[in-house]
Symmetry: C2
């Protein structure tokens, strides 16, 4: 059933039918209702859906949305999703967002892939012992990985930021400023990005013959509470850190509060560097003491992921293109030389 | 094709097939690939999808995601979506999120409804001259409105917060504290929630025989920049406001910055009340001067919307239930009596 046939059946002009289907106010409610009912009954699909049916495509891309106890990380997810959504809209694709337990993503991916509602998948939240690369290939759908596996039997398409370089550069700057007691408030180290950041931080320390004091290192969630709790714990120690590095601007909120409560001034008494995903409501330059950050936009990554996934669906990207973005280290007022110790 | 038939065809036990489809690591890669290929070729759908096919349901609920220049409001959308997602996951439903131009939501709704991928729709971002109630009924799918129409030919199901009461109570408090020059930084007044808030604020003023100075009233976006620009403009006037009311904690960030830059202390020199959607990263109690707010959780609203929409899809909610939530006015340190004017 095409537009011409549907119009003939209804005894209406194709223009009127098209206007009714596209919701123009010129079409009165009774006519619109007649047209929509006929469209449903005959299985007529307007424009894009008709095209997608003709090509066997659903016109949708799928991704999992982590839902559950750690749901506060959705500020990061929401930013990524906005990027994906902008590109999807520009390319006339739907998003199928499947709410999923972070501990059971495999069944979510299988359900999405076998349900026939999506033409391609974005895989994210890669873990250290993640074996989903095999699964993705078995599923037989175009896919792209946001992040990277730690081992994979063969090449696969991804977009990742160089998390190791980000934290390596950040710690190296702190070392150059004379800091030796450095507190690391990392993301959840069951996730790949946090593993790579820890490795980068460690590498910079090891190059100076140093290591992280286990008492100054924690793997935690991307929440304000977690940042505050970690920083408060660090600063309560007999030999507190002179500098801290945290994994998210959301954690940085809590670190700054902890420093204020401990009567320490950021940038003078204690230096702070945060990873910055360029979350629009948490801008490092708007903090009372503007924050030094290592920056890469999650929204831009989302746009690029959607762009490449749609290219793969359309057969335009056919190789296993691997793309690694380097975050920028942006210096602001929250980093300074190690403070001179006052005599007791 | 059911699980038993698929298993027989493959010469595997139903347990193995089920494990392969659900991604259990016990199944080796070759077997999993065989199973998934057979599932695709035969059109087998695992559990929930099979059930949905049997019932003629897609197992999905749909909503539009505003995408475009004003995309910063996605902090609010993301919070709402998290609530919808939590409930959808608990009820084993997918979300189909259609990126949509806020100026053309009708065609997005029609596409979603006629595409056969969703069993029900959530309609939001109601405008003052919105006539989509007719459209929603023509579409012939269960739906629920987040918000309310200003006029509708007959009853329809909705969940809304009492935005009028929220801003009425807020302004009444400021009047009780002696404020008369009150600045109103509202949301976009082409949207219903902002119209109702303005009406509530106006009603409180009118009860005292007052009105808003047009120079102290603006309708703007839910961004930090917009909040800062509006507050800076208000405070630069010859007769600046002694109190301000804004529509979002994101705007409040900008208002507080503007006050700091003008050398005014929140709560002493200028009072501030913000609407609080309970965004986890912007908590009013964490501001340097904790903010008085009128509070209602967007995430909880998202959960409730999804719950009711799924009930409607399942035929469990059959009346046009209209639910209005009353925001709470929570007093903190950002509101105080009108400051005594210093003599020139």
């Amino acid at each position: 059933m095409n537009l011409k046939e549907l119009s003939a059946r209804l005894g209406l002009s194709p223009t009127t039918v098209s206007r009714a289907l596209n919701g123009y106010p010129e079409v009165n409610a009774a006519t619109r209702e007649r047209v929509l009912r006929a469209a449903r009954e005959t299985g007529y699909r307007p424009n894009r859906t008709a095209q997608h049916l003709a090509t066997g495509k659903a016109g949708s891309i799928g991704l999992l949305m982590p839902v559950g106890a750690e749901a506060m990380s959705d500020l990061h997810f929401g930013e990524f999703l906005s990027g994906v959504g902008e590109t999807a809209r520009a390319k006339d694709f739907h998003l199928v967002v499947m709410p999923s337990d972070p501990a059971d993503e495999v069944s979510g991916l299988v359900t999405l892939a076998t349900g026939g509602n999506v033409d391609g998948l974005c895989l994210a939240y890669i873990r250290e012992n993640d074996s989903r690369i095999d699964l993705m290939e078995s599923l037989g759908l175009p896919f792209i990985v946001h992040g990277r596996f730690f081992s994979a039997p063969h090449p696969y398409p991804f977009l990742d930021v160089d998390n190791e370089a980000a934290f390596y550069e950040a710690v190296r700057l702190l070392l150059q400023l004379g800091h030796r007691r450095i507190g690391l408030i990392n993301g959840d180290e069951t996730l790949g990005f946090a593993v790579r950041r820890r490795n980068g931080a460690l590498k910079a320390m090891q190059e100076m013959g140093l290591s992280f004091d286990p008492l100054l290192h924690c793997s935690t969630t991307m929440t304000e509470e977690a940042g505050q709790r970690a920083a408060t714990g660090f600063m309560a120690q007999p030999d507190p850190p002179t500098a801290m590095l945290c994994a998210s601007m959301v954690q940085a909120l809590g670190v700054v509060r902890a420093a204020n409560q401990a009567g320490k001034q950021i940038g003078r008494d204690v230096s702070l560097i945060s990873y910055d995903d360029v979350l629009p409501v948490l801008r490092p330059e708007h903090f009372t003491v503007p924050l030094t950050t290592t920056r890469s936009s999650l929204r831009t990554a989302g746009k690029r992921i959607a762009e490449r996934l749609i290219q793969r669906i359309n057969g335009e990207e056919t190789d296993d293109f691997q793309e690694l973005w380097r975050p920028e280290l942006v210096l602001r007022a929250s980093t300074g030389p190690v403070p001179v110790k006052e005599k007791a």
